[in-house]
Symmetry: D2
Subunit: 263 residues, 4 copies
């Protein structure tokens, strides 16, 4: 790991250029709003990346130096290159942290890492969301009270089609009657993943102090503890002696490596 934690905020950056209502809230893009408040953490080096950049802004080199990646997408999930998704998945499994925001529940990378549909119920009705802290001792909840409120948010309701989280940090109450597991943690490979529900493009959610605290906490929580390149090694020498058997079996002579099988 480097001295400073290297963070990239990825955004598809489509809404903010196509819809006046969104541009009014996030004139420089959601990624800049998020990068802006993260920069107050002096331990972080914060950059951004967007869909329209070469390699969707996430070249092999850039990802190699990234400790924690944040992801916001909505309209253009399908336009993210599969090669980039493969690359991000590989890096998460090696140890890179990933913070998945709001409508990125349907991003290729989140669905890839979860293995599930990641679908949910939704409604866009300017309604109150109250996020209850279920695990007050979790590092992502540091500095919060028993709950915090967002005055206007899109509703996401259960059932959220995800693998059971390792920790459920927040559960949301919605004015219109639904609930949602809105802060969920998983480990995949050697990397940590946090999904955080709020952040609809037409509401000023990313200017909310509690939302900013949660995202800043999540970045710190997701910092890599290791960097381990995947392998599936043959270890022909045993640590303890293997007794010769009376019956012998031929070997099929197959070597597995990286998902491929080479004779």
């Amino acid at each position: 790991m480097q001295d400073k934690i290297s963070v990239i905020v990825w955004n598809e950056f489509v809404h903010e250029r196509e819809h006046e209502a969104v541009k009014a809230v996030y004139p420089h893009g959601i990624h800049q709003a998020i990068a802006g408040f993260l920069k107050s953490d002096q331990g972080l080096t914060v950059g951004t990346a967007t869909l329209d950049e070469p390699d969707n802004g996430l070249s092999e080199e850039r990802l190699a130096g990234c400790d924690v990646l944040l992801w916001w997408g909505h309209l253009a999930h399908d336009q993210v290159s599969d090669a980039v998704v493969d690359r991000v998945q590989r890096r998460v499994l090696e140890g890179m942290g990933l913070v998945v925001l709001h409508s990125a529940h349907f991003s290729k990378i989140f669905r890839r890492l979860m293995g599930t549909n990641c679908s949910l119920k939704w409604r866009e009705a300017e309604e109150v969301e109250r996020l209850w802290v279920i695990e007050p001792s979790h590092p992502i909840a540091a500095g919060l009270g028993p709950y915090f409120e967002l005055p206007y948010e899109e509703m996401y309701g259960e059932r959220f089609d995800i693998p059971a989280p390792e920790s459920t940090v927040f559960v949301s109450w919605f004015e219109g009657g639904e609930v949602f597991r809105s802060g969920c943690c998983w480990t995949r490979g050697h990397g940590r993943i946090f999904y955080f529900r709020p952040g609809h493009e037409t509401y000023p959610t990313y200017y909310d102090k509690n939302v900013q605290k949660v995202i800043a906490n999540a970045v710190r929580w997701a910092v890599p503890r290791v960097q381990i390149v995947d392998s599936c090694p043959n270890v022909p020498e045993s640590l303890n002696p293997i007794k010769p058997k009376s019956i012998h079996f031929a070997k099929a002579g197959v070597v597995q490596q990286g998902g491929r099988n080479l004779e």
Copy 2:
């Protein structure tokens, strides 16, 4: 669910036709050996499917009627069609059970559902494997003692790159010095998944009575409890009234469905 449980044993069926050593052990293929002992359960209808059949033996229609799918593969993971992998994944998420056997840890479908590399250490040295029952009350361990042994098996050693299992039913001790989480359960979507480690193609593992008991138990455990087609519905009507807000935000006018976004 139907009166009888519909089971399909899928096998790539390559080793048994290409390697004499394997053919000697499983002359009709591993799938037939497994289907053979499963048929003693009168509540099951057992069929088989192989890689070389049209649609890899798993057409839309066939999978639609399948309750539990077993999967054995090794040499030819890459030859399984992506459309078939998509289809099997969809069916598991809808509720179908999946039992993943031995070298299918590296199958496309298992890696897809896990989201991880599913890599491990391995050695082919005719060594003793002793499977310890960690959860004696789990239905998959029904009828077993505190452990059972296989006199000759391939070694798989940790670290096995999987998401932490919901239940770890077995942990293996290997003569050569390694350990392995050899019976692991997950729920993904509405379906249950069981990975079972033993079953190397050159050893007579699938004739072992305890192995047969575990697989038969796993099939019963993985029977669908529901069949739910995925959706990500907009629910514009709220169950409880939403108070009009003083500030109004425009809607971005986006409808999400099935991973795609339609304006």
Copy 3:
């Protein structure tokens, strides 16, 4: 296990005799209301037990034949004998199912099995509770829609001080603004435990068809899969040979058994 599943509904049976308001709702006691609807399952033999009976109604003999125990208590948790709590805990760890209802979150037996305080927020205000089904494929949710409502319930709100559940089947939305993990599953020893939130003594909750379905499902889910008496055995003979070591250590000569150490 016997042919019929043996179920005992335990109730402290104090409110219904001391408070007119409660007597009006449950004239024969909450235990009789619950036993009443469970009896419609022909596979069950349903009995009841109350605090004021000898051994709190749960003698060694009676518990030995019990498959699933349901527990309702509120006013008199402290009056349950510690010997009975020990006995119930032992039986759960051996495999007996336990269904813990509403204010029994503070029962000695639930706190004993959880190891935590099991505290929560609460309010008695005749408010609407809507229980969302988080795991539609879980057997305890069988036959339910995406949610069900109770028109009048006591509110329990997070944070609920419990170990993270193995499955969270329901999350409740409350009219007054709180959320709660209202259907939680754990395995302890060889037994299954389900906590189900609704059931305040002044409301007719146990006459609700969905509540009855959940409790009936939970009883079926909690049926013992094994019955294993605890032991901590010394196994001086090893399964594999242990190589003599060059250095020898004396044995301290201690034998552990049942939490005691006997020289």
Copy 4:
């Protein structure tokens, strides 16, 4: 939290005074051996406590200032005062870390927090234990290779009667043929608990560099993130309005607090 992390190493300190063989290995007691190597972490203030001290060395005041408690016991679990066990449990639930060592699997405090028997198989035969790292990215595994070995240890074998760990950091392979989940993590209340298997009193295990690294890592991992005193508050005022109901129910007039019910 204080500037320095306050650590107490608790030891029953009986073996080392009663058995020459143990005294030879740990002349000043196991607690001093552990405290000794922990002191090389400049961020820690390390003290010790033993059974024979007043309050078993763990007065209310002393525990109030403790961040992480380590616990070694074997012969004298029953002699630990129940009041002290209550106190330690309360502090763990408030946020204090607890590291449970070897034969303390049968300590009152560990069994209290787990809710299970915590029994296992065991054999004292100077055998090789090889601890495989199952979660290389877990902070407790920092700095270790894929495995480490202890040349002489007591064997503990599965089934270990514990609630399924939140993380299983190590699984042990024993020369004599058994396996064991030898490094297990749980959260209870707001506190973190780590059980670490090795450490038999007749072997020089606590002088092993890898064992020392694991314990030092565990202390750092278990540092409190919060300190929250338990409560079960009545919150009569709702955050959102509760609609008057047409039917009214009397209140039973009961106030719950701290496990007691006061009218």
